[in-house]
Amino acid sequence: MSNVTLYSVSYLLSDTVLRAIGSVLPRPLSAWITNADLITGIAVLVFGALLLAASMLNTIVLIWWERKLLGRFMDRRGAMHVGYAGLLQNFADGFKLFRKTTVQPRDADSLGFYTGPTAYMVTSMILFGILPISSGWNSGVLPLSLLLALAVFSFAPLFIFVSAWSSNNKYSLMGGMRSAAQMIAYEVPLLLAVVAVVIVAGSFDLTTIVYEQQNYWFWGPLVVALVVFFAGMLAEMERIPFDLPEAEAELVEGWNTEYGGMLFAFFMLADYLRALVGSILVVLLFLGGWTLPTWVPAALTSFPLAGIVWFMVKTYIVFGVFVWIRASLPRVRTDQLLRVGWNRMIPLSLLSVFLAALLVTVKCLPVFGCVPSLGV
């Protein structure tokens, strides 16, 4: 891997710009502006801005990717007019939403009505500061980054319920209740599946988990955990077939019925941010993150930013599988959803924890590692 890291890029940017400004300013000011502490401080801000811009850009491209894929699944073309192959369509949509008035229902609770979507969006964006994207492309060493990511990820039902409750609409309230019930029901198997990964990797640090998969990716030994994690992610992301909280056929638009304009755009963006985070987590935990199997020719893994490229390719493919499921399956009923969650997913996740513990105890994991040509 190259030595370019997110921090070095932002430091370079801040250093170049501040020194350029300092070279044209008079003496005392130029000394102050090229001060090393200031450059470092600005570099941290640039770091955050880069992360934010990258996550937003990826989210919007992800919406485009879903629209195109879903189009092919439905034997049509997706967005195709604005920009190349419709790439700019979502920017146009976002701009339209940005220009629209935010209409607040008369009896809505202003505080919850406005803070709900904002907090939902903000907590979803915080996740991008936690997840490592490639070696060196993370915001520092977090020994419990997986735990932190999942904790932040599970804030969502609270804010969804707050915004649903405060919009003073029965459909919103029902959608919010369903959302809370569903997210809490699927949090348990999701975390248990993660426990299986943690047992095998021996760490809560996502970077360590990725490097533990140098020899074999975890989906091989932990295929049960992968299935549970995938289903749990589907429910957490509220995507078809688990999109009961939105259920536009029954609940108008679910918990965001009363939201329009930019607040709706917040929900939309946050949904796709969470979908992106879900795909990234699947890639990090089960598909080897930014690494490739050892039998892949070196030319494919040694070019600059190869880690990020492969990471994004994997993420988009995983999200493609989410879209595939959306294109195939109908929406389940509430009772089916909860029954599958409590009666099937939790036993399966416990089984996966047991299997992981067994694999670690009897030390048969190297079996997967000693056949590198399989590349699992």
């Binding site: 189009g71 073309r77 195709m80 595939w324 195939s328 399956l329 009772d335």
Partner: protein, 259 residues
């Protein structure tokens, strides 16, 4: 909760198949439309393009030649001004009253040539005008793109229709099967004053004014003030447009069956 399994699943089928089967179907569809979804991207592609020949055959239910459309497609009209005889039959037959006869350059300055101008805002594309046209100069083409930001541009002048004629689009002269027209123009001789209006306005010049003998006036009787001529209609040339009946000042011409 007893009857939990929904009705759609086959009995005894493993629940994994409930997920796997639709996903396989979706994957098959995805593979099929990966490079070419069935959508015809209309402004850029058209159904009548040769590459969609097979689809047109399915749509029309019959074998389909390249560059052709359905036999009976009724689109925008094409008008051949040169052969138009200004008989007005198209305007008469139009159920939507969207055809107006307007003057076109050329022809006798005293009696300007009139050709149909069609308002496509009203037209229902029934094809009656094309059916009625005795000379076959008003036909319907396969052209169907009419959208315009201005309502006034929906009115197509005879010149514009002639442009469409000259563009050599596939044309469908509408000829509905109909019984031979038995009607003929008959004359009520005592009323006729021999004014020549019918002969003058006949688009096919099938009316000739023939001299009739001027009767001798009996004593005390006053002969009518008239020209001693009478119209004779050549039935084989007559297109039954009725112009003569409408221009006759004395209403002495009428429809009837010739004995």
């Amino acid at each position: 909760m007893a009857s939990e399994v929904t009705a759609k699943e086959k009995p005894g089928e493993h629940p994994v198949l409930w997920v796997a089967r639709p996903m396989a179907t979706a994957a098959r569809q995805f593979a099929k439309s990966l490079f070419r979804p069935s959508t015809i991207v209309y402004p850029y592609e058209r159904l009548e393009n040769p590459e969609f020949r097979d689809r047109l055959e399915v749509a029309s239910g019959k074998p389909f030649g390249v560059g052709q459309v359905w036999d009976n497609y009724r689109g925008v009209h094409a008008l051949n001004i040169a052969t138009c005889i200004s008989c007005n039959l198209c305007a008469f037959s139009c159920p939507d009253v969207c055809i107006e006869m307007v003057s076109v350059p050329g022809g006798d300055p005293k009696h300007p040539k009139k050709c149909p101008q069609i308002d496509y805002g009203k037209c229902s594309y029934c094809g009656f005008c094309s059916d009625a046209c005795p000379e076959g100069c008003l036909t319907m083409t396969t052209r169907y793109e009419l959208s315009t930001p201005k309502r006034s541009e929906m009115i197509y002048s005879p010149e514009k229709l002639h442009e469409i004629f000259r563009s050599k689009l596939p044309m469908n002269p509408i000829r509905l099967a109909r019984p031979e027209n038995e009607d003929a123009i008959l004359l009520d001789p005592p009323l006729c004053i021999g004014c020549n209006a019918c002969s003058r306005d006949c688009p096919t010049q099938c009316i000739t004014m023939l001299d009739i003998p001027k009767p001798e006036a009996k004593p005390g009787e006053k002969l009518p003030r008239r020209i001693w001529k009478e119209p004779v209609v050549n039935d084989s040339d007559c297109v039954r447009c009725g112009t003569c009946i409408s221009v006759c000042p004395k209403e002495c011409l009428f429809w009837g069956t010739r004995k």
